[in-house]
Symmetry: C2
Subunit: 374 residues, 2 copies
């Protein structure tokens, strides 16, 4: 399949109805495709059903049908934070000609206890969350293990946050557009769950992102798409510092695309917590296990480095509206491959990769995109 068009709202704290954000992102994707909504023959939607919103709607495909006045096959695929990626993966496999893929969520509302409680439902509930080890604590243990085994330091984690905030400074879709975050600020921010400080953690925002996938050739091909699922909690993995499903998905995606990690020019990875960006370097084969720190220390993954990672700012600094995130990654990579990213445009852009994670590693989706004729 080919990506014809992509669309994305600004990510932020504005209190907009989800249907309004869904409409904006979908229309931009349709316009970029030169297709009318009447050309779409199926839709795959990801949302965690606008869980803290007044207009909460569990039957989102039907809402999209009302919105666009279209009666076609549509399904909803949530996968907590990996929902957008999972929807895109399925849309590639369903066998339709022109598929709209949409990720949308609204979680930045003034109800932190509700959000904390909902996010608890995205990982092991019985053994961890109900005992008080909520999401940041669970991933903090992974970071502690990585520090213990491989000598990773909080300075390394700070560099991930700093790089991604530098990138977000150049991205007009993020809340951090033209807002400088200094390394000093990052280092002095309050502790959330040691070793994580505030700036190690992603940002809850509202937003939507969409794409139109088509059988008909366009300039961006989906060269490989893979989804793999692992057990619920990090404690169930053989090694807590290894995202097992990520390794499997990446290998499969490279194989489908007929390339290897070295061919990737730019990527967006799921840095919901800074440590996850380092694990992603390692588990997708960009360095040896435990050596992710090298790539952040020597600048390889900066926007002007050999392998720019999270040029959009990532979940860290672009923000993370749950199901919209996977599609926002695709939005960024497609626009990077097309050379449309202005100040944050990377120099080499033939192959791009997106990696989206649901839970603390439970669902991992890796997509590889190829710029045609480039």
């Amino acid at each position: 399949m080919y990506v014809k068009g992509v669309g994305m709202t600004k990510f932020g704290f504005e209190n907009r109805a989800t249907w309004d954000m869904a409409y904006e992102a979908s229309l931009e994707a349709l316009e970029g495709s030169n297709l009318s909504v009447n050309d779409i023959d199926a839709a795959v939607i990801s949302t965690v059903d606008t869980l803290v919103s007044d207009e909460r709607q569990r039957h989102y495909p039907s809402l999209v049908s009302s919105l666009f006045k279209r009666r076609i096959p549509m399904i909803q695929i949530p996968a907590v934070c990996g929902g957008g990626g999972a929807a895109f993966w399925a849309a590639n496999k369903l066998g339709y000609d022109n598929v709209l893929v949409l990720g949308v969520d609204k979680i930045a509302v003034n109800t932190s206890p509700v959000i904390t409680n909902e996010i608890m439902n995205a990982t092991d509930k019985v053994w961890e969350q109900n005992e008080g080890m909520i999401f940041p604590c669970s991933v903090a243990l992974v970071a502690q293990q990585h520090m213990l085994k491989y000598g990773t330091t909080t300075d390394d984690l700070d560099l991930v946050a700093f790089k991604n905030h530098e990138n977000a400074f150049l991205n007009e879709k993020t809340p951090f557009y033209r807002k400088k975050i200094t390394l000093e600020q990052i280092k002095k921010s309050p502790v959330i769950a040691s070793p994580f400080r505030l700036y190690d953690c992603t940002l809850n925002v509202n937003g939507a992102a969409a794409a139109v996938l088509s059988r008909e050739k366009s300039d961006v091909e989906v060269a490989g798409s893979s989804l793999h699922v692992d057990h619920l909690g990090p404690f169930e993995r053989e090694d807590m510092t290894t995202l097992t499903a990520c390794g499997i998905a990446a290998k499969e995606a490279y194989k489908k695309a007929g390339i290897s990690a070295e061919d990737i020019d730019v990527m967006e990875v799921h840095d919901a917590f800074t440590i996850l960006e380092l694990l992603s370097y390692e588990d997708m084969g960009f360095c040896k296990k435990g050596e992710g720190t090298k790539l952040i220390r020597n600048g390889t993954t900066k926007i002007n480095g050999k392998l720019p990672v999270n040029p959009s700012g990532g979940l860290k600094a672009r923000g993370h509206p749950i199901s919209a995130t996977g599609m926002a990654q695709i939005y960024e990579i497609v626009r990077q491959l097309r050379g449309e990213c202005g100040d944050r445009q990377v120099s080499k852009h033939k192959y791009g990769l997106t990696q989206n994670i649901g839970g603390p590693g439970g669902s991992v989706i890796v997509n590889i995109f190829k710029k045609m004729g480039g």
Copy 2:
């Protein structure tokens, strides 16, 4: 694709963990398939994330991975009351060799206000539900329209309830097994939303049902599977008494199977409210529009009639554990086609049909099954 095995828990009010029910139904489906869980190469799961349960889990595929110690592609497809059907439809299209399809939900717990509120999220929220027109009221208006236009009476609706309770009397998986419900009881039950009385409405139960789909030939083929989506509310349809998406899905399924309505020997339809069974007769082409009453009056759809409908007892009397329902319909039809249904076995069973509805007509899934070599 072929159905190799099916599994189903008893439906009822027992307070079991969803993982426990999911495990039981899946194991039965695997055993019936003569496959080990290690032969499964993908899974599609439907659940509305055990919404009122302590062990609420939004990342169900990952829970299933923990349960079966399998790391394979898995996705979750909720479609409110049509979730099981939607998951089955997608599993047919994903291109894997052996796919586990599972529907599971737990809603029969002592929290009616929570359930009412959650079910509100399955149809239009803004124009109808928030204004007090909750689900039964919305569908009651459809029934009133049908009465006004076609002379349907409450006696007709009572006959649907009575027939399905008669069938459930013979089904050891239902809460109404060996429990007689008389026509008198039905007629004297309390009014819920006129014209619906208690016995016009489905029953909230807990349960799980599963199937193993395979490329490899078995005795039951999925001859046609179709999913279509319509707008959220009945008021958005041109005619409130017509399930538009159902008509489209049925036509497409017949076409794929190379048959017409007359070829169907037995079916399970989505009688969440009695009127929906009559609309289903009409909109799938088993009679002219408005004449569904004929089939219930003259006994055509009784278990010993020409076209037995809901031999399991249907949502009405077998109960309706949301996402498990679509898979329970498939469980019944596959067993009917195989001649395994004992006291409630229908006499002709070459072609069977299941029709599952999400919302008041928003998602409709029609599957046609063919007994091979029969």
